[in-house]
Symmetry: D2
Subunit: 135 residues, 4 copies
Amino acid sequence: MTPEQAKEALMKNDAFSKWLDIRIEKVDSGYCKLQYTIRPEMLNGFGSVHGGILFSASDSALAFACNSHGILSVAMEVSISYTRPAFEGQVLTVEAQEINLGKTTGLYDIKTYNEEGKLICVFKGTVYRTGKEIT
Amino acid sequence: MTPEQAKEALMKNDAFSKWLDIRIEKVDSGYCKLQYTIRPEMLNGFGSVHGGILFSASDSALAFACNSHGILSVAMEVSISYTRPAFEGQVLTVEAQEINLGKTTGLYDIKTYNEEGKLICVFKGTVYRTGKEIT
Amino acid sequence: MTPEQAKEALMKNDAFSKWLDIRIEKVDSGYCKLQYTIRPEMLNGFGSVHGGILFSASDSALAFACNSHGILSVAMEVSISYTRPAFEGQVLTVEAQEINLGKTTGLYDIKTYNEEGKLICVFKGTVYRTGKEIT
Amino acid sequence: MTPEQAKEALMKNDAFSKWLDIRIEKVDSGYCKLQYTIRPEMLNGFGSVHGGILFSASDSALAFACNSHGILSVAMEVSISYTRPAFEGQVLTVEAQEINLGKTTGLYDIKTYNEEGKLICVFKGTVYRTGKEIT
């Protein structure tokens, strides 16, 4: 199974990634780059994007990157640091990179940037590799 | 401003918390308890709830707890650990508790449970207290 | 193997825990409480205890708590939040509690307090359970 | 104050960094690279380096990188992921890089490698910038 096929298999039923309307620009072995646009229903009570949206798009990028090897993998532990707010109408770019791939776990770094290339948040995710093949 | 008033001020414009359809059961000084129901559009490609949804509801609980003192506060750094998957139709309960309140930062522990009281995820959040009053 | 026996097996060769001079007050299933005293060589360039010492003592408490089941377990991912500095001569108390125990992983909350019961740091640790018995 | 001077000011009284016997290879604006050797007293009960040592050396690298701007800064929140064990006699290299520098906080990525260039751990640190100048 290629990274592209794994992505198709996951994306097909990923209802929340569809709601986020993420556009996957590229998937490769241990890698994913995607974009999405901040819509009004993604805002929090302060008028900026809800932290949960920034997290969710990063989490989706993680899912595509860590499942690119064809082995079903799930996030186990994540930390996210927010560096700058983002606002309605902005197009954000999310890039996930594999830092380490072990037999049972993997470690990923996911960064989100705005259109000016300014860092919005940094996400570090540890995944558990179930050993099952994605179908 | 009471915790209840701060919650009203935040919730009024929190579009994403409304989309999540969270029901706030209780807010108090440094505390928040809320519930929500997992809907089909909240699922990931594996048929369980998307990690971003679990994060988002925890993040909303954090926002209500840390803003309960009437001082505008925003999440700066969060870590989340997933312990059990959750599925469509389940009603999840999220409880946020203040662990420490400093002058410029605060620390919160947020736990999510399913209907059987089983732990779904643990969220630890550090917030920055801006010093501005919520209006 | 009892929690007490597992502790003895680990502590016997744990050179750095000996250097820290931690005193284990109690171990039980998924639980550990210990104390240590801040010595001059544990300070950083600001005259307070080095963050690495606070981390290390928490990490030792984690090791005793997560290995109490007799199954060799190692820390995989940890986050620590510092809430208050601590100084030379203070006796700190560290308490580790099991939040979740899965087949291959476990989740622990470890808190450090000073003599006045003030919170010094909060440590959240995910361990990998190797499946091997401790001997 | 140059990064080099800031490092000297911090290192002078940093008793625990001296115990670790870290050798600072380079400091620059928002950057630090150091090395240290694993000694017998740094081992845990499993014969590998204690997680607290890996953390401590990373934390020291963080301190030199974040204080390089001459503004007193302290770690507030850290997460560390362990990817590979390390053993007695190994020389580890730690590299700290600034990911974001805000007015009151900064974000740093610190990686530790063994002599073969294999990744031992990844440390993500958020610091609080006190605004006071280092003297």
